[in-house]
Every structure is written in structure tokens, then in C-alpha cells.
């Protein structure tokens, strides 16, 4: 039996059994194999999809190498974001400082690739060796005539969430620059969609059909020029709220733009997102168009889901994702295909998030914060999950224990947002759960014979 570390005792909760508030927002226990990454990771994943910007990672090579082309964020035009640029600091710079190398690297890259803006990510050692990244960026910005923005993302200075905040602070500096291009009264910014597998395009199409202008998407299929006029949109619609609420708050304070939190996963959340936006504008025509859109999409979707549900009815799912907002939508989406959530957790959930999860899950569900492979494998086995939803790091845990897997992380290649994304999700889950390969899995065979033994 896997032991749950003392420090983590209250980060694990079983509904119907435990009565405490789930602890969260803590630093991961030293020596635990957390699934979390670092501050740099938070900044890098959020800013990554801005396709016409230069992303230069200031540090030794690892941080750049491990994040080369790491997200499935698609671009309709330039693809500069898919390059991995690093100052590749060596011992020399660690001793004498890396500013000169950073300056040279930036100038050459800007001259060669002609980006619309540049982000310079600080990694762990940059602060320790005393580089004044801000000064170098300011100088290059003046010399090259484009925004060059430092991202304060030293890995150890907090958690991934602090990286989100650093990213928001950097991207905020790109806003408020374009007051010329006309912007519609019925206009929004999409915040916190990253165009994984083209998801932003699905969502943008819905808004287009509703008659709403999307001024910018921050950051999916992102462009510096669009962000420059984003301050003139009438509303900020925030998905992946863990990463982007901070930007929405800054924009509210600076430009008076209201914001709302939405999710584009699953039928209820997707429909609610569109209705909430339409209602915000209170425009009768927009509301009518939204009703038509949702009605048409859901009607087309339900018969397909019904067929899938027939296969999956009664199966059980475990969910472990980065931000818990996504897990709310997944719990609901799974019900549409007949599946019950028996384990749900996240790397960075808040107390409110976990209270909400307690409300929407069934008795006996395990809710966990910042869990690790050993705990996760134990919960999966104890609760008899048939499916794990997570990212690449969780995938082998599922497969080794002979259960199905759905990648809902930033490397996914299937669009899972929107109504069509719900169908993709259901199909992907069915394809994995219903695969004939599981009958060879030793864990499955053992579980089946244990169940048989229990019956006799």
C-alpha cells in the first residue's frame, strides 16, 4: 500500500468519508514526485502560442530544449513560436554574467526573424548571476523599435501559477498600443485559449456566427498586433482562468473592460459560455442567433453521443489535470457519455475549486491536490477506474495499470473544445476504453479474477 506523506494528508479527500477543507496552494513536499513544473513552465506555456513574437529563453540549454514545440498550439500564419531559442549559458557567463550574450543573441535574432515583439524568459540562474535583463531588453527595444519584454520566470521563485502571473504582466505591456483599427461594439477578447489542435478556431467560429467580433485571442493563434488593440474590446471572456484571470483583472483596472469566466469543454459549459456572452451584450438578435447556434449544434451532437454512451455506460473515470476549472467541465462531460468520476485532482486548484468539486462529484470520489504517481496509481486501483484523463506524464500510469487514457493536456492533437470537441472527446474516450487490448493486461486479469472470487 502506498503511503500518503504526512505533509500531504489533507491534500487528499474522500467525499462522504472526510470532513476537512482540502489543503492546497502549498509548495510540493521535497522528495515527492510532483506532477507540477516550475515558474518558467507557467510563463512559457501561456506565452508560447503568440506566433509572430520571438521567444528567447535566457539560461542554460535544458529549459529551452525541453520546451521546443511542446504545445500543440496552431497558427494560421507565422510559426516563429515553434522555434526554440536559447542563450545557452555556459560556465563563462555564469561567472562573468550573461548580459552581453543576451544582447548579442537578441539583436541577431530580431534582425534575422523580424518578429513583432520579443519575450525574454529568465530561468533559475539568471537572477543569481546578477543579469539585469530589464536593462538589456529596454536597450534592444529602443534600438530595434519593437517591444522586448522581460518575463520574470526564474523557476524556483514560486509555482507555475507565479509563472502565469509573470506571463500576464509581460503580455499586458503589449496592450493599449493600437487606437486606430475600428472595433465593433459587440466585441470580445478570448483569454486563456491556446488554439491546441485548432480549438480557438472552433470557438471563434461560434462567436462569428453570433455576430460578435473577436478582437484578439490571448494567446491562441496570437498576434502582437491584435493584442495591441485588445484594450478596446467590450468584454474579456476568460477560459483557463488559472492562467489568465490576472490579465483580465489588469485590463479591467486599466481599461475598464469587464470579464467573465467560462469553459469551452462539454455541452453545458460550452452552451453557457455562449449564452453568457450574448446576455452580457443584451442584444436581441445576438441572443436569437446564439439560441439557433446552440440548438443546432446540440441537436446534431446528442444522437452521436447517445451511441457512444451505450458503449461506455457505467464506466468510471479518473481525472488529473493542471488547473481544476477544466476538471469541472470534465466531470459533467463524462456524465453525458455515461461515465462517473471516481478520482479528480489538479496541480494548482484553489480552496473554492475544491469545494465546488465536492459539490458536483458523487459519494466516494477521491479529490486530490498536487498528487504524485504512487498516490494516483493507488486511487485508480482502489476506485476501479476504467479511464484516466491527464497529460503525458500521467499516461504511463494508466497504461501500466491497464486502463484507458485521454490526453487533455497541452500536447493534445485532438480538438476537445466546443461542441465538435465534445464529440472528439467522446470518440477518443470510447476508442481507448473499448480497445480489445485490455484483455491482455495482467492488472485487468487480476482485477477480474478478484471480482469473480468475491462473487463465489
Amino acid at each position: 500500500m502506498v503511503e500518503i506523506l504526512e505533509e500531504r494528508a489533507r491534500q487528499v479527500f474522500e467525499k462522504g468519508k472526510d470532513g476537512y477543507a482540502i489543503e492546497c496552494g502549498k509548495t510540493s513536499a521535497a522528495g515527492s514526485v510532483s506532477q507540477r513544473a516550475c515558474v518558467f513552465c507557467g510563463s512559457r506555456v501561456v506565452l508560447y502560442p503568440i506566433a509572430d513574437a520571438l521567444h528567447l529563453i535566457h539560461g542554460p540549454i535544458g529549459c529551452a530544449a525541453y520546451t521546443w514545440d511542446i504545445r500543440g498550439s496552431m497558427s494560421s500564419g507565422p510559426e516563429l513560436h515553434r522555434m526554440s531559442f536559447s542563450t545557452d549559458l555556459g560556465e563563462n557567463e555564469v561567472i562573468y554574467g550573461g548580459e552581453k550574450k543576451l544582447y548579442a543573441a537578441l539583436c541577431e535574432l530580431i534582425d534575422h526573424y523580424e518578429p513583432k515583439a520579443a519575450f525574454v524568459y529568465s530561468t533559475c540562474i539568471v537572477g543569481l548571476i546578477g543579469d539585469d535583463v530589464g536593462a538589456v531588453c529596454a536597450r534592444v527595444s529602443r534600438e530595434k523599435g519593437i517591444p522586448v519584454l522581460p518575463v520574470n520566470s526564474e523557476g524556483f521563485k514560486g509555482t507555475k501559477k507565479d509563472g502565469y502571473r509573470a506571463a500576464c504582466e509581460a503580455v499586458f505591456k503589449l496592450t493599449g498600443k493600437d487606437d486606430e483599427t475600428p472595433v465593433s461594439r459587440l466585441s470580445i477578447n478570448i483569454l486563456g485559449d491556446f488554439n491546441l489542435a485548432g480549438e480557438t478556431w472552433i470557438i471563434k467560429d461560434y462567436y462569428r456566427r453570433m455576430g460578435i467580433e473577436v478582437v484578439s485571442c490571448i494567446t491562441g493563434d496570437g498576434r502582437v498586433g491584435e493584442i495591441a488593440r485588445s484594450h478596446r474590446a467590450a468584454l474579456n471572456v476568460v477560459q483557463c482562468s488559472g492562467s489568465m484571470t490576472y490579465l483580465a483583472k489588469m485590463m479591467k483596472e486599466a481599461y475598464g473592460i469587464p470579464f467573465m469566466r467560462v469553459s469551452y469543454f462539454g455541452i453545458e459549459d460550452m452552451s453557457k459560455a455562449l449564452y453568457d456572452v450574448a446576455e452580457h451584450f443584451g442584444d436581441a438578435e445576438t441572443l436569437e442567433r446564439t439560441r439557433e447556434l446552440v440548438y443546432g449544434e446540440v441537436n446534431a451532437l446528442l444522437p452521436e453521443l447517445a451511441a457512444i454512451k451505450a458503449d461506455l455506460d457505467g464506466k468510471k473515470a479518473a481525472i488529473y489535470v493542471g488547473g481544476s476549472f477544466k476538471s469541472f467541465a470534465l466531470v459533467k462531460a463524462l456524465r453525458h457519455i455515461g461515465m462517473r468520476t471516481v478520482v479528480v485532482g489538479s496541480q494548482t486548484g484553489t480552496p473554492e475549486d475544491y469545494e465546488y468539486l465536492k459539490e458536483i462529484t458523487d459519494e466516494g470520489t477521491v479529490i486530490c491536490d498536487d498528487t504524485n504517481p504512487l498516490e494516483l496509481s493507488r486511487f485508480i486501483m482502489e476506485k476501479g477506474a476504467d479511464l484516466l484523463i491527464g497529460g503525458v506524464k500521467e499516461r504511463p500510469i494508466a497504461y501500466k495499470m491497464g486502463i484507458a487514457f485521454c490526453d487533455h493536456n497541452h500536447e493534445r492533437k485532438e480538438a476537445l473544445a466546443g461542441f465538435s470537441g465534445m464529440l472528439n472527446f467522446a470518440r477518443e474516450v470510447r476508442a481507448s476504453v473499448m480497445s480489445p487490448v485490455w484483455k491482455f493486461s495482467p492488472a485487468r486479469i487480476a482485477a477480474q479474477s478478484a471480482a469473480k472470487g468475491g462473487q463465489t
Binding site: 506523506l5 513536499a29 521535497a30 542554460p60 540549454i61 529551452a64 522555434m83 545557452d88 530561468t123
Partner: protein
């Protein structure tokens, strides 16, 4: 914020490292950082869990990178640095990390890898480890290995070699007198490790192969969750490495200071034999000859039959290869061995790149490819963008190396034969066989088939016999 003049004044001294690329920055790196190599090596020791002393991100990124290649759980603990650990030192974090990982995993050993963060603040991990070892109760606890391997020095290969050395230093004892051999196989695939085991076992001698992640990173499906997968080089076998007669150390890029083979030679008197990776006929012949010499045994006949089939295959397929050109890249020892193999089959390597810096690289490559050396552009400190820039003038017929070279192949519109590490976009990347006569024949078939498929698809009438 400082003003410009101050910034300029402080920009001393010049970045003086010679580089064979045109950009100061690295664009699409052809290397990884040292802790990654160390973690892979530590996973090849029985019951050993790697522990990265540094930020949480290092462990998580390395796990994710490795999982995408091996498609196995790769648990790596982290001491989870915070701002205060960076100011006051990481001693407390390391102590509690070791305690927690011991409680959860009950490992036989913990392989500690430092990072750029801990090395820059001057954390003395070796001293911490000594303190822990001397203050803990007599019943012991896991053996602690420790490698100082900041990301700003060298590449993943440096971490790999230094981790192996740290294991050997901690465990190996003896006087180099017994009839057994050590094999230090280099950063090869899990299938390569299994091939080496089969070769060694066929000689009927006692041996220690270190590391051996053939099971720990490429095992079967499980009945119950395994905290630390079975397999890895047994600690009892590592202990005997000091009493072996010889060490065959594959790959020549490791320095004496990094090489466990050199340590064994100097400390225990075990003769160290450095060889190229056995890819291609010449390198594999040399490997078998060294093995015969070290063991005093003749190679079993099945290997000469395998060699015969390889020669036969070379001849059967020579027309598809002869006169072709290739781009080949990766870590130094892999590239040098591949270049030698390509020269044997008449493919001229025209772009030869590796990510680390080495003045000796060009000479090694030229020695490996002989007459074709004049045509080869040999680039150390290479990145993929530089290789693409150089290759555009005269694109090679084929690109050979890890899956990060897909960027090259796609831009050049030529096929990619995936081998080496990592392979993130195909099944079975961890199982590619490269070494020995059988590995070479498998690579040969893959290369021929890629070239044949190109020809078949390009043919208007789609030949069904080629």
C-alpha cells in the same frame, strides 16, 4: 533599472568560446542538459531512484521528455527549491527529500543530480551526503550516489558518464584479478542493452553491464503498480566491477575525469578498453575482438553467422545506397559510429552535427569516414537551425538521427530514419536496435527502405518490384 551605458560597461568580458555556427543563440538545440543523462543512467541501477536537487521544473521536464520516448513511468524526485532555499542553501530540502523519497519508494539507492541552480549558489552536495551518511542509524538506508552536473556545463552525455562514475565509485571494490568483464555501453537503446546482454551471456563469462535500463525503462505490463520497476544492474554486480579483468567502455568522448572505466583502472587496476560504439562492421568486429581478448573465449559461431548475413545484406542493398548523401547528428559517440557505418555502405555523410563542443570531433568523424571526409561538413556545437541552413545549399538524400531532426527532414523534403535518442513521434523509439551485427542490419534495412520508398512514391507508375 540601469541606464544603457552602465549595462554596456558591465558587459565584460567577451564571449570567447569558438563556435561553428553563425548565431550567438542556440536555435533548436541538438543536445539536452546534464541532469537528464544522469537520471537515465541512475534508472539503470537496481532499485535506484533519481533525485534532482533543484527546482521542481527540472524533474518534471526531464520526466516528460523521457516518458515521451520510453513510454514508461519515469519517477524522478525533486528537492523542490524555493526562494529561501536559494538564499540559505538547499541542505534542508535535500535532507527532507531523501527522507520522503525513502519513505515512499523504499529505494536501494538514490542517485542525486545537482542542477545549475544548486551549483551556482555553491551548494556542497557531497558534504551534505557525507553528513547524512555519518549521522543516520547503523541500519543504513539507501546508498547515496551524487554527481555534480550543472546544466551550464556540457550536455546530457556528461551527466550520463558522471552518474555512472558516481555509482561505481560508491559501490565497486576489488583488485582487478578475476575472470570477468565490465561493459559500460554508452547511451544506447533498451534493445541495444538486451543485445549486449545476449552477446555477453553467449561468451559464458561473468560480467557487469552498467547501466542497464533495458527492463526498468522498457518493461512489460504490470499486475500491480511497481514503485520502482524491476531490473537494473544489480548492486552486488556493481560491487564486483573492481575485481574484473577489464572494462569495455563504449564511446570515446568521456574525459578521464568522467569515465568510470578510468576510475576502475586507477583505483582497482581493471584494464580500461575504450572502443567506438559497435555500429557497422568495422566497429562491431573491434568490439568482438576486444571481448574475445578480455574473456579469453572465442565468440560463438552464431555471431559470425550474423556477420555473414550483414555482409550479404550490404551487397543486396548496395545499389540503393551507393552514392547517396546523408545528414547525421546526435551525441558524439553515436554520430562517429554512424558515420563509420554510413561510409561502409557508400553513403557520404555531408552534414555531420553534434550539440556539444569538441575540437576532436572533426578528426574523429574524418577518421571514421575516410575518403568521403572532404565532402562532409562537420559541425560541433551544432543546432538544428544551423544544420538546416548549411544543408539547404546541397540537401542530403536522407536524414538520420533522433526525431528532433524531423524539423530538418521536413524542411528539406527528404526522408528521416529515426534512431538514437529521443524518438518522440513514433512507436518503438526506445526499442530501435543499433548495435552489433544485428543492430547494423536493422539500421541498414531501415535506411534502404526509406530510400526505396522515396523512389517508389516518386515513380509515376508506382513500381511494385524495386
Amino acid at each position: 533599472m540601469k541606464d544603457d551605458t552602465e549595462t554596456e560597461r558591465e558587459m565584460t568580458p567577451a564571449v570567447s568560446e569558438p563556435s561553428s555556427r553563425n548565431f550567438t543563440s542556440t536555435r533548436n538545440a541538438c543536445k539536452l542538459c546534464a541532469p537528464l543523462g544522469a537520471c537515465i543512467a541512475y534508472r539503470g541501477v537496481e532499485g535506484c531512484i533519481p533525485l534532482i536537487h533543484g527546482s521542481q521544473g527540472c524533474a518534471t521536464y526531464i520526466r516528460r521528455y523521457g516518458i515521451s520516448h520510453f513510454r514508461e513511468p519515469i519517477d524522478i524526485a525533486s528537492s523542490n527549491f524555493t526562494e529561501s532555499s536559494a538564499i540559505f542553501g538547499g541542505r534542508d530540502n535535500l535532507v527532507s527529500a531523501i527522507a520522503n523519497v525513502t519513505r515512499q519508494y523504499a529505494p536501494r539507492a538514490i542517485g542525486i543530480a545537482s542542477t545549475c541552480l544548486t551549483e551556482t549558489i555553491g551548494d556542497d552536495v557531497a558534504m551534505y551526503v557525507r553528513e547524512i551518511e555519518t549521522t543516520r542509524p547503523n541500519d543504513g538506508g539507501p546508498i547515496l550516489f551524487q554527481a555534480s552536473i550543472p546544466s551550464y556545463r556540457g550536455t546530457h552525455m556528461d551527466g550520463f558518464h558522471e552518474a555512472i562514475r558516481s555509482v561505481v565509485r560508491a559501490v565497486a571494490r576489488g583488485d582487478g584479478a578475476r575472470a570477468r568483464v565490465n561493459l559500460i555501453p554508452g547511451f544506447v537503446s533498451t534493445e541495444d542493452l538486451r543485445e549486449f546482454r545476449e552477446i555477453l551471456e553467449s561468451f559464458g563469462v561473468e560480467y557487469t553491464m552498467l547501466p542497464d535500463y533495458s527492463e526498468t525503462l522498457d518493461g512489460g505490463s504490470w499486475e500491480t503498480y511497481q514503485k520502482l520497476p524491476e531490473g537494473g544492474t544489480r548492486l552486488s554486480d556493481i560491487a564486483k566491477m573492481g575485481s574484473s579483468r577489464a572494462t569495455l567502455y563504449l564511446g570515446k568522448s568521456a574525459t578521464d575525469e568522467q569515465s568510470a572505466g578510468t576510475w576502475l583502472e586507477r583505483t582497482c587496476g581493471v584494464r580500461n578498453v575504450r572502443l567506438d560504439l559497435p555500429i557497422g562492421i568495422a566497429n562491431t568486429d573491434a568490439f568482438f575482438a576486444a571481448l574475445e581478448e578480455a574473456t579469453g573465449e572465442k565468440a560463438p559461431e552464431k555471431w559470425s553467422r550474423a556477420r555473414g548475413r550483414l555482409v550479404d545484406a550490404y551487397i543486396d542493398g548496395h545499389k540503393y545506397c551507393s552514392g547517396k548523401t546523408a545528414a547525421v547528428y546526435g551525441e558524439e559517440d553515436f554520430v562517429v559510429a554512424m558515420a563509420s557505418f554510413l561510409a561502409e555502405i557508400g553513403i557520404a555523410p555531408t552534414i555531420v552535427g553534434m550539440g556539444s563542443k569538441s575540437a576532436a570531433f572533426a578528426d574523429r568523424v574524418n577518421a571514421a569516414i575516410g575518403a568521403d571526409g572532404a565532402r562532409a561538413e562537420v559541425i560541433d556545437d551544432a543546432d538544428f537551425a544551423t544544420m538546416l541552413d548549411r544543408a539547404r545549399a546541397a540537401p542530403p538524400d536522407i536524414v538520420i538521427g533522433n526525431s528532433k531532426g524531423y524539423y530538418l527532414a521536413r524542411n528539406l523534403n527528404v526522408p528521416l530514419v529515426r534512431c538514437g535518442f529521443p524518438i518522440h513521434d513514433r512507436m518503438g523509439g526506445q526499442r530501435v536496435l543499433h548495435v552489433g551485427y544485428r543492430g547494423t542490419i536493422s539500421l541498414f534495412d531501415s535506411i534502404c527502405n526509406a530510400l526505396m520508398q522515396e523512389r517508389q512514391q516518386a515513380a509515376k507508375n508506382g513500381w511494385t518490384y524495386i
